[in-house]
Amino acid sequence: MEKDIVDFALEYAKGKYIEYAEVRAQNQKLEQLMLKNGILEAFLSSVNSGFCVRILAEGGIGFASTNKWTRDEAKAVVDLAYRFAKTARRKDKIKFAEEKAVETTWEVGQKKKIEDVDSETKIEQFLDADKALTSHTVNVPARVLQCIMQLTEKYFANTEGSRISSFVPKIAAFCFITVAEQGKSEQAFEQFGYSGGWEAFKGWRMTEKLVQDANILKDVITKAKAVKPGTTDLVCGSEVTGIAAHESCGHPMEADRILGREMSQAGRSFIYKGGPFWIGTRIGTDVVTIVDDPTIEHSYGYYKYDDEGIEARRRYLYKNGIINEFLHNRETAAKLGTRSNASSRSVNYDREAIVRMANTFVLSGDMTEEELIEDLKNGVYMVSFTEWNIDDKRFNQRYVGREAYLIENGELKHPVAKPVIETTTLKFWSAVDAVSKNLKFDAATCGKGDPMQGIPCYTGGPSIRLRDVYMK
């Protein structure tokens, strides 16, 4: 990475009538392998390196990027960003919240460096996972196993004096399997993610998890019965708790969405000034506390400083059932009279940083999972989900169980076929009466932005219990 060109671009930008400028450079080594039904379909290896310039001038923002590392190109992108900022001709001038300049270097360590593991070993380990699936007693006719490894070096500099260098290795696996039994099929998707080195692969226990998924899908086909529609109690496993926290707490608490900046794509939020929900409004029971925390070491959504150079910290989104703190970047923070809480992230140098979650999860309680279930006369235990979605104000959501069981008199009975909860954010979190202590995380890729930016994150939480919800 040629930091002198970054510094040159920043100096050149300073010569213009600007309120603020930053240059963010990124060098990313990428390796990607894909196995399709046990065959290596392709192995991709590439390096992507470039930088962007973001300028605030006359209350407008301009952004330009390039992967050409020359001083002439640097001047060209600064000129372009400056021109775009001015052509916005905004009446409501954009401002950034005041923040201190930072000079630092940070990185994520690797016990076993990704770059030291040869390609052959990487391929072999995924082939072994595939072999375990095919040598198992369950018929898994379609399998896709993908691995993506990214070594990302960044350098951030702004006109306020910040200079931040970082290095983050990330590894992720994406698996999709189809189980066929008795002329029927069921499918499962699993994602694994880690910030760190190749040691992740062992930690994931991916093979074991996929074989377990295959067994579960077989049980769904051969043993599951439909749930009787009606009001019942529901225990959500951590995977279901996590997706609900992400969709119906993390997303609606993004301040850019609240302010309307995502209105034509990901939408707005049921939370808005002057509406029924705002900071201080109850959205769930006392036992519901949902946080977003980028500082969990080696988490998939880990970062120490965001892409505006702000130090990361835990954010309490819903606190004891009350709407507490939005996710902010410097622009939204200024608009709502507060400080950034380091939620600005970008997937690449050629994409603007926008407000994003990192690792969103429900804080644990003090009960065991068994204690959640043993009190229930009738209910459903939804361990994992398949189809899910939520409306663009983040209020009406639906989760369909993949692995689920009937609960009778405090005991788990037979598997349940595709139980559905379709409810509102308020009803969901207001129905929670107990939270267990078994906190777990799942890796996910969160979609937002235009162009779309799929950003690494964790969803998570413990098992939680909901009373009197409608299931079908």
Binding site: E41, A42, T66, K68, R398
Partner: protein
């Protein structure tokens, strides 16, 4: 620009000299500009220039690929790639890259798109058009994208091609009230046919009609899908007709070739024609693109193929090769014989749905899924819009919808929006019978 083609050819020659059996290199010089607006003001304009050569090579049926962006060290990157090929695993299903010399149609790209200095007037014009339709206090947001790519492709197996690809896309969502909105797009490959104020008018009209929505009711309805919604469904079906999707069972069309998968009036094709924002004259193997009818009067006729998947399915490539897997470029339905008003006229109690998002499946092979309508959901009674609705979900099956299509409009619109109405399409109004709707309880 012959220099770029020569440099691309040099990459192929170097890879061959290292021992590669087959090589494709595709160089793209892309210029992209995207203005985003909300609350009736421009939030930011993002520009990115990309200079990249995609290289795919095979060695003893081992397939590896890279993207070269550092043109000072091409040799080093190719050697590294070839090194990976040597420790990689054989792909017995790799059928080679397309062979032969092909004649490509001339590009019809509009270079004026890249020369647009300040496209913000397009945005302000469309916002004003929306205000004229739905009132001065409406709140609009959206994007304006311009794209221009020069593409140079050289394959060791014969194909050589030069193409230019241009697009201009405008998307506007207009809120007349907090929960009343309309959305429309204007998409074109050239400036001649581009009028974003039309999108402003349409979005404003829908937003005006959508005022004071009531929560909808669960049930089974006959529905009319507007082109933006129909485009999302066409994209869903087209992605499932890629041979790759079929092979990994990410498709409702597995083992259904030659079978009836839709009602008799349904003919759907892939056709990256000159009007389309994804127009092109060759695919990523250098094979000339063509029109591929994949559902013909209800019968599934073909999957979309590259050379390798075509060999597996004992057929010929359809010109849909992406770098690794086959993909649909631009989906079209054949022209129908109804007007939108005629569709409405036949409905005693039904729904008119103008847009959707967040489509997710329980099981792709079975096709059970749900998607969430937005931006104008209307109850139709006796052929007329009676009430604006909200908070309903379409929860049905991908094959059932195809089989229940009872009407296709004469009018079609070129639509592309975000990740929802994607890939781009030439989408009609669709009348679909017996569609299941659900809601939160």
């Amino acid at each position: 620009m012959n220099g770029v083609l020569n440099a691309t050819e040099e990459i192929v020659k170097k890879a061959k000299s290292l021992g590669a059996d087959e090589v494709i290199a595709k160089t793209t010089f892309g210029k992209y500009r995207r203005s985003r607006f909300s609350n009736n003001e421009i939030d930011t304009t993002v520009a990115w220039n990309d200079y990249v050569t995609d290289v795919a090579l095979s060695w003893k049926k081992r397939v590896v690929a890279t993207q070269i962006r550092d043109f000072q060290n091409v040799d080093g990157q190719l050697k590294q790639l070839f090194g990976i090929a040597k420790v990689s695993k054989e792909n017995p299903m790799f059928g080679g890259f397309a062979k032969g010399k092909f004649k490509h149609a001339p590009s019809s790209a509009d270079r004026k798109i890249v020369e647009l200095e300040d496209p913000s007037e397009y945005i302000f014009g469309a916002i004003e058009a929306a205000k004229r339709e739905a009132g001065q206090d409406v709140n609009s947001g959206g994007i304006l994208l311009t794209k221009f790519e020069d593409v140079y492709l050289v394959s060791s197996e014969g194909p050589i091609g030069v193409d230019s690809r241009s697009a201009i896309e405008f998307s506007i969502r207009v809120f007349s009230q907090r929960e009343a909105s309309g959305h429309s797009v204007e998409c074109s490959s050239n400036l001649r046919n581009f009028d974003p104020s039309k999108a402003g008018v349409e979005a404003g009209k829908i937003a005006g009609l959508a005022k004071n929505p009531k929560v909808g009711e669960e049930g089974v309805y006959d529905v009319v899908l507007a082109p933006l919604f129909a485009g999302a469904m066409l994209g869903m079906w087209a992605s499932m007709v890629s041979a790759f999707s079929v092979m990994i069972q990410l498709s409702v069309f597995v083992n259904k070739l030659g079978q009836k998968v839709a009602s008799d009036i349904v003919t759907i094709k892939d056709n990256p024609a000159p009007y389309s924002v994804s127009h092109r004259v060759f695919d990523d193997e250098g094979v000339p693109i063509k029109e591929n009818v994949f559902i013909d009067r209800g019968i599934l006729k073909t999957y979309l193929h590259n050379t390798s998947t075509a060999k597996i399915f004992k057929t010929k490539t359809t010109g849909n090769a992406g770098l690794v897997v086959p993909t649909a470029w631009n989906v079209e339905t054949d022209v129908g014989n109804m007007s939108k008003d005629e569709m409405f006229g036949g409905i005693k109690r039904g729904l008119y749905l103008t847009n959707t998002w967040y489509t997710r499946f329980q099981n792709y092979v079975k096709g059970d899924f749900s998607t969430i309508p937005r931006d104008g959901i209307f109850l139709i009674e006796n052929g007329e819009i009676k009430q604006s609705l909200k908070d309903v979900r379409l929860s049905d099956n991908a094959l059932s919808l195809l089989n229940n299509i009872a009407g296709i409009s004469r009018e079609r619109k070129h639509v592309h929006w975000w990740g929802e109405a994607d890939p781009p399409s030439l989408a009609p109004y669709l009348l679909i019978k017996n569609v299941h709707m659900t809601k939160s309880k």
